[in-house]
Symmetry: D3
Subunit: 163 residues, 6 copies
């Protein structure tokens, strides 16, 4: 497929289809995606200095991201339903940039997947941070969402260098 | 609220809540969010040169984005359910960057909203482009997701300058 | 719109959108749709002679149809979310045809709707009858799904003659 | 079960249950269902002559049908959740009847399924065509929805003759 | 209705319907429901002594309960969709009983609701506590789920005494 | 894990995760949960004396419970998606207590589950009974929801004594 470089998601009439994966082998698969939320100083400090009755924005974003990963095949039209077997999210705080880097890792055993689930987990976590902070800052930016690493599947181990 | 700069989504115990908007007025509200998908030259050309049996990636992304907007309150934990009254998505192709800019516009009459719906429409459309292209390119990047404009609501007209 | 006979669900680029209804008036709306499930004699009698430990297929179809109506905007891409204010389903048994006619009635107050909700209620009820009976008959046919009547909205009272 | 001709979806109290399939073998399964949407001449021509800024109704219906197939177990009460492994939809235009025939094909490896998924794909695609065209024609009819073919599973190969 | 003491959710054929509320007035409505989760001493102390790398079970339960409230009309067959305008959850820890009391409060402006939303919020929060603790204790009990208070609607102010 | 008595659902930062089960074996699993709905005499008799045009509250609760079981991983944040292979619900009427005991049994083959599915089935069935009866009685109580029995999985056979 990589040789021919053609879209695999379209049928002979040029309309989208859910690709047939029934002849692929079931393998263990793991993917990690990342993304960043850029805040201003004030918002960043409010997020970081949780505790003190201010509430933990990242705790809510974590739950949202994990639940979002489970919704991937419902949200992305041609995604196959997948039995997710593990989802975790990590936040890396960057005091210099006032940014929060989100890393989402997803695991499954299956014929296809699991990178869209990781990317969806990150996107939903980022949107949730946005939502929780939007009353105090309107010009938040979500940035640099991409697949960091993928293990398993026909195409083998993939690792993207940082941007 | 803007004066105090406190999170509004947390209760007195520091746990997240869905903010009470029952005393806010019902107004017409419109929001436009944007985001970008960066492809390589090869993938970009496959997306742009649809027709010819290759299928229209953007048509699928458009449908996904609109359906995604309707799922906002299901995906973002503290978002209120909202009666969306109009959603449209526009794609701006940039031949120099090999990028696709996504603009999502949402409308409602209500006590709250409609920016998260616009941001979700854009995010889901971007993830869908990613999904449809990932078999031919793995290092796609989704970038610069933010609120471009908001009309209506207590805080009035907001317009963000381009990055 | 009826004069120009153009699709209203597409934007200027020819891609689907959710039509903007924010300037329409909120009115009471009611729609009734119908559809038929054709069974063979044996299956028909099993469905009709419920009780006696055989279970009520139509009771399950009724619940499914009502829950299906509430899912309309999730299933039909360009449908607006609607606050359904009443849904009922009626079954008309026809001993000569071995058919079950399903009538679904939906009500709301709103700017748009409510015919897709009625059609979805009927379709889901029909599919549910099919599902409950498919172990004993494979060649069931679902037929003649259409809008029977619509009250309210700009286009006024509509009533379709029987086929 | 075919010998006794009893409903399998009811428990000893006559209430619906989700049938226990845990002792069935996992086999490859494929099903094709079909259905028809009857339009009038004017609407039919608008659908067929897409391009030219008029938008592609069938593209949207295709996406809706595929996403609908994934929702089958959510919509049909006693349907088992199934790991769909491929979904495709084909449209056959009939200029004489002004009709669009929809063929939906679904595949999985599993203990049960996959005909309800094919029937749901067809039904949702048909409802979506209806929705996209209802502003220009109100008396559209959805007709002749049935299972055309099923491969795999205990009952073996099934093929229904055309009506 | 209170005089006749008949079920309102059934049609003349004895099948369930979604009650027609289109002629009811839109009023502000608020409901508070409660429920209790009984743990053993060990589990209770683990839940209470969050922080210290052990994670906050109640934070997750809170998010789940709020998201669950938004799903009420999807889960409870005859429930009307409702525009929730505020949801909050409070936990009362009882060191003597090793119990956690959950109070869920929901608000809306509408023709019907909002008690099922409060009860669903409590039930989902309770199930989430159960899920988070079930690896360390299997005999957890969820108890005493009921409506504590309801304001607004035709039947006026309701307040239930504690059990 | 039982030896250390630590929560398994939290990562090293103390935030919730979906536990990785990819190295667990796939086994047959079955769980039965129960719960009770306490009504007053009048409501109880209306529920029990179905037939006679009054409609079958328990039939609707049964369908709701089974559909609810399928929604478990959507509702409970850290629950894994599971391929449910069988769900049944039983109601035990207690004339002396005016109570309805709900028993929900769920089955799957998988790496994890199936007790939360049984508990969710029971909770949703109980909430549905509440909803169908709330117009005639406001002080209904849902009580004693717990896991009765679990077969399969690493921890083996579990059976709880009645309260």
């Amino acid at each position: 497929m990589d040789g021919k470089k053609e879209f695999t998601h379209f049928n002979s009439e040029g309309r989208a289809k859910m690709v047939d994966v029934s002849e692929k082998d079931q393998t263990f698969r793991q993917a990690t995606a990342c993304g960043k939320v850029y805040l201003n100083r004030e918002t960043y400090e409010l997020v970081v200095s949780k505790g003190m009755k201010k509430g933990d924005v990242l705790q809510v974003a974590q739950v949202a991201g994990i639940m979002g990963a489970k919704k991937t095949s419902e949200i992305i039209p041609m995604c196959h339903p997948i039995m997710l077997m593990g989802v975790d999210i990590e936040f890396q705080l960057n005091d210099e940039e006032n940014s929060i880097k989100i890393l989402g890792t997803t695991k499954c055993k299956g014929e296809t997947g699991v990178e869209m689930e990781a990317l969806t987990a990150v996107s939903v976590a980022a949107l949730t941070i946005y939502d929780m902070c939007k009353a105090i800052q309107k010009d938040i930016v979500i940035d640099e969402i991409y697949l960091l690493e993928k293990i398993g599947g026909k195409s083998g181990h993939y690792h993207k260098g940082e941007i």
